[in-house]
Homo-oligomer: 749 residues x 2
């Protein structure tokens, strides 16, 4: 009888485990704090959003952001309101469109406060009254005692405010909320702001701003579920009369609206807000078409189902901590790119003209390509094959109007932040993997054109023809990194050229892809900056992040973090370094060198020796050992990195998540493989951190990853079987995964 | 025989005189200098343009404009290039889009120079090598010896550059030319600039900038009549390779292109450039559709015919000086408003969405309404009845998207510069005059809505309901002027309300139109600023332009220049002043008071006592005498003003022409009448300065103005006959003019 009871109990637990949604494992607070004093915060936001959706509705706990770019920092004690657009995990901040904040109090006092530009209606809050899951966020505002709940559909942010009963119900809308106004570089500045009361439950308007994105057009529409009894606009120190249904601002003047709700019967106010890059009419249409009569709860339910569907594309087994880490990481990779096309298919193109897609088709933005080409996009080729094509089509649309592929595409505008043009590997990788849904010849034209085009910050390919490298004295910032990463992009162009039998192009770009070799200094074993006259710049300090003080040599990095950069020619690199043994010693040294303090420098963070896991350039380093035949060292470093750099807590990320790249690294790594060369379709085997994972391919097939005998002690791969056949090269290909099957890791001590 | 010869000669001379085009009398250089040291420059530009056209292609002789807003100043010695958009005669500067400059020299030296942002390819020039007429401008650049000729069609600027033979032929295109970058208020800043070589004779691109207009989208297309052999983009200190066919800039970084033409056979390069608010595709279409295969000479011919047609709407007799003054003034009133709709009918609306008219229909901008509602728009109701309706439709389109009529509409964007909302009198005047082509009920909704709407700088109508005036301590700048001019606008709304039988509205606005009375200080005879508590602000200095030092009381004026502001209730004003005799003494005093120096203050300039003809608020003062029954004094002051304030020379304007208002005043005044109340349809008789004028009405009728016996000595009207009947009230109505007929002035000593 007792046995039966235990069996039943086990069965019940299993049922419960099966019924539990994968979204329940996601903790949006992971990474909202700093890992430690020596690390940058994850810069992720905990708010509500839809997979790859337009709206990121999240609390802003900062007034003037310098470092914390997600708008929210775990250590902050106050909330300034809830804005509708955020970027996940970047090192530079922007967006935060249309801040909304509920409050109570007296109308006159609030208006008086709102007349003073510096004064904000903020509230303290406590983490114990805060809750977040995919598509949902809630908090209790201590000052007003308003309970705030947020959810979103793809294009619409929904607020539900529960006011203390019998209190006055106010909502403040701030059009000039920017957070980054005091930043020295690319400060937020409102160029033009407009708001208009359409009727007693609808307000429309727009704001155009310059910031990290040089010019963003953000239209909005706001609808309430009960009549607004009063709407006062407050601008430039004056409160406009309620007769006055329009208000404008520009040149960074403040513009806020105070909405009052008088209904005595209800303590709850629900607000829907949508954005548009095209018109406030479109924003209103987004609300009506997408959410119609759906209330908060229904939208929340639909959105959470959408998240469940996306995140269920990988099924895993593991302990609670592993599940939290894994699904939160997967969640973070699916936060962007973001579809900013309106429901009717209209969107603002790269040249600020209006494009028109079929209703429902997406136009994607938020491409942090210097980060995400490494692992996030390869992950999308597996889990988001349709979206990968749509992402590429968005990139090609940008190329059509601008003649260059996007580099850092933000709200549809390129800020050309970071070096190279890593839309090229994304496109070539997708092409090589046979992703359908984009025009290959148009895509080839775009990668070739872009490889020959300059973008303002750092890339002027004419230097490659002239010098064979980017000369440090050629008015080029980060000349070593630019040379290295452009070489990789050129290799990608060459691959596609060859495949399309464009042999002249192949020859040109293949030759150019070797340019990185010209900066290798055999003596030091590092890539070093060179001058136009062919000599290396001296003095040289491989630990330094700051170049000659005026211009940096490396991108957010020192010489160690770019020492193994050319993933397209590791064999040649190894040769230049004097062979495998010597190369491996150099690589060991990166992880072991403690000669100089490793403190946050530029965006480098999360150090193991000179290896910086909190930034991207050396994300592939641990896998190089496997490539060089020393799988054991790969395992060793991965164990170290995963265990020391990720935690299922707000202090869980050792650096900026960078639009999912840090997370994508973890998703791959926990499953046991990683795209060392992200345009090769080949994955190096690392070591599995999960006993079981099942990838549900878009074509309906499954790929299972089974780690036999995995335990705390059994962390070494003894043998690998791919579909039952022994896998000796410790590699996996994209087609292995996509055609379905299984890989088995046989683990031991 | 000899008699016959003389008769033939006289006949030939007459034929010649008749053959002479009226455009020949226009001298675009009039007013390009300052009248004297005590006056502001006219701020007009001498370049080529089309009546009410999109393009104003004119030389820019200033690098950093503070005062000279037309881009050109007669005293300047150097030309920086030729840009495609200018405003005529304003006190604040903006536009100057797409600077083009031909030059010779060596490619390497030029590139070297262009790499340095501060260095510009400029040239000295001499007025003796300069020539201008409507639709045409030419100059010889002394440094390069390039002869430059400019003409325009409605949407396209044409350049013809004749290079010294055998010299290298270069053209520099500067995307970041702004002139007003060093200005403290609303400096020009390039937000986004883009250029792309489409083929060997076509370049497209855009620039988005903030300046006086908070955000302007300016697309362009450039076509050459011979192949560009090299196009180098120079940006951020680098010269991009010619392989690189795109270039971008933002955050005010420079972007210039150096075009080289190699054709050895030709020394002449012709370039066509068009702008668009919508897309570079539209700009290119403007060129192709509008100028097709037309060369420079053909476009020039067509444009000059268009000018001839417009200016011939008034035929005059008079001496050379009078003809130059009159036709140049008429020319200046027809420079704007400007049609910025593309040839295909597309344009950017007030909310930056795209509007679409029938191809060829105009969308007008450049509304300097605080100036032009006084006389320029009334002049358009006579000479441009169709365009008046189109102008109003453009205003209503703005209202549709913004909920407020335009105040100062620049490149389609409102900067809300200046007080009141003087689109209201323009619309009401047109309505009362029966101008057809706009929807009266939609127009009424717009004027009523606007009269109840605030705009940021100075107008918050809720103060009128609360206090009956704009209180100086109500965070209101120029509170006296705002009260006075809003009262007039409200009177206009009331007039239309009455006519449409909206009696509640009539009553409300009619009452509000009396608000100005609340600021009249019987003791001083001036309108004075009042505080919220009902007391006048003290101390009070009627000569001061600067209010309390923090906030001004009057708009670009002192108390004298607003003393007779309420043109809608002169009778009441006179009553408040203590009767006609006392009022007339006060008016005399304005013209006679020399107690304080009259130097340039704010935009006031062109002084006669405290009367400032170089600015707008007292433009109607001389005509008040006639209204009060003392026609002789009107004549006296007008003789003084016309003779002392206008000259047919570069020093010909005593203040900013202000988009044609100074000129429209002269056109009316020289013909002998003026709209004292510009929304009344009634003109006060002044005194004729021309022996004969014939207005060719749009309906085909003529209105003749005949001054019998006019001579230097016979400058007083002895008798007036309107269509043969004696006119005793010395007034003329709009319908008198429009139905055709003649007015005869019988002049004597």
């Amino acid at each position: 009888m007792r046995n039966i009871f235990i069996i039943l109990l086990l069965f019940a637990l299993q049922v419960e485990a099966q019924d539990k949604r994968v979204t329940d494992w996601v903790d949006p607070f992971i990474g909202t704090d700093s890992f430690d004093n020596n690390s940058l915060p994850g810069n992720v936001y905990p708010g509500a959003t839809y997979p790859f959706g337009m709206i990121q509705l999240s609390p802003d706990t900062q007034k003037d952001i310098l470092v914390v770019c997600g708008g929210y920092y775990w250590k902050d004690k106050e909330i300034y309101g809830f804005s509708h657009s955020h970027i996940s995990g970047t090192g530079i901040a922007d967006l935060y469109d249309i801040l909304v904040m509920p409050t109570c109090g007296k109308s006159a006092e609030l208006l008086d406060k709102l007349k003073t530009p510096d004064k904000q209606i903020k509230s303290s809050f406590s983490h114990k009254n805060e809750y977040a899951e995919p598509g949902y966020y809630s908090v209790l505002l201590n000052d007003s005692k308003v309970k705030v709940e947020l959810t979103t559909s793809e294009h619409v942010g929904l607020h539900r405010y529960v006011y203390p009963s019998k209190s006055k119900k106010f909502v403040v809308v701030d059009l000039n909320h920017g957070i980054t106004k005091d930043r020295k570089w690319f400060p937020f500045k409102l160029l033009d702001g407009y708001s208009r009361v359409l009727n007693d439950s609808t307000i429309i308007g727009y704001r155009f701003a310059t910031g990290w994105a040089r010019l963003r057009k953000v239209y909005f529409a706001l609808r309430t579920n009960q009549p607004i009894s009063h709407c006062s606009f407050i601008t430039w120190g004056n409160v406009l009369s309620t007769k006055n249904t329009v208000a404008e601002t520009w040149n960074d003047r403040p513009l806020r609206a105070l909405l009052e709700f008088n209904s005595d019967k209800k303590d709850t106010v629900e607000i829907k807000i949508s954005l548009s890059t095209v018109s406030s009419e479109n924003a209103l249409n987004n609300i009506i078409t997408e959410t119609g009569r759906k209330d908060f709860d229904k939208v929340k339910e639909d959105t959470q189902l959408a998240w469940e569907k996306e995140l269920s594309k990988i099924e895993i087994k593991g302990d609670l901590e592993q599940k939290k880490l894994f699904y939160t990481a997967l969640y973070r990779t699916f936060l962007q790119p973001n579809n900013i096309a309106d429901v009717n298919g209209e969107y603002t193109r790269g040249d600020f003209t209006i494009g028109k897609l079929k209703p429902g088709e997406p136009y994607f933005t938020q491409f942090s390509l210097w980060d995400t080409f490494r692992a996030a996009h390869p992950l999308y080729t597996i889990l988001q094959s349709q979206r990968t094509a749509q992402i590429i089509n968005s990139m090609l649309d940008f190329y059509d109007v601008k003649g260059i592929l996007p580099v850092w595409h933000l709200w549809g505008v390129d800020n050309y932040c970071m070096i190279g043009n890593h839309a090229i590997p994304v496109i070539v990788d997708a092409y090589k993997k046979g992703i359908r849904g984009f025009d290959y010849s148009r895509a080839y034209e775009a990668i070739k054109g872009s490889a020959n085009s300059s973008h303002v910050f750092t890339s002027y390919p004419m230097f490659l023809d002239q010098y064979g490298y980017y000369p440090h004295d050629g008015n080029i910032h980060e000349s070593v990194s630019v040379t290295l990463e452009s070489s990789f992009d050129d290799w990608c162009v060459a691959q596609m050229a060859k495949s399309l039998e464009k042999y002249d192009d192949f020859s040109y770009f293949y030759n150019r892809s070797k340019c990185y070799r010209n900066l290798f200094d055999i003596k030091s074993g590092f890539f070093r900056p060179k001058l136009k006259n062919g000599s290396f710049f001296a003095p040289f300090d491989p630990y330094s992040y700051y170049g000659d003080g005026q211009r940096k040599f490396y991108t957010e990095a020192n010489a160690f973090q770019y020492q193994f950069s050319p993933v397209h020619e590791i064999d040649t690199l190894v040769e230049m370094m004097g062979g495998k043994r010597k190369a491996m010693l150099l690589l060991d040294n990166v992880f072991n060198d403690q000669k100089k303090d490793t403190i946050i420098e530029e965006n480098a963070s999360g150090f193991i020796g000179q290896y910086a896991h909190g930034n991207e350039p050396c994300h592939h380093y641990a896998y190089i050992y496997n490539y060089l035949g020393n799988h054991r060292k790969t395992e060793e470093q991965l164990q170290k990195i995963v265990k020391s750099m990720y935690r299922p807590t707000p202090q869980g990320l050792c650096g900026n998540d960078d639009c999912g790249q840090m997370s994508a690294w973890l998703v791959f790594t926990m499953m046991g493989f990683y795209p060392l060369n992200p345009a090769s379709g080949v994955y190096e085997i690392g070591t599995p951190f999960l006993p079981y994972a099942k990838i549900k391919n878009d074509n309906g097939s499954y790929f299972e990853i089974i780690a036999h005998n995995l335990s705390d002690k059994n962390i070494h791969i003894k043998k690998i079987a791919l579909n039952g056949e022994i896998c000796k090269d410790y590699k996996l290909t994209h087609s292995d995964i996509i055609k379905g099957g299984k890989i088995e890791f046989f683990m031991g001590k």
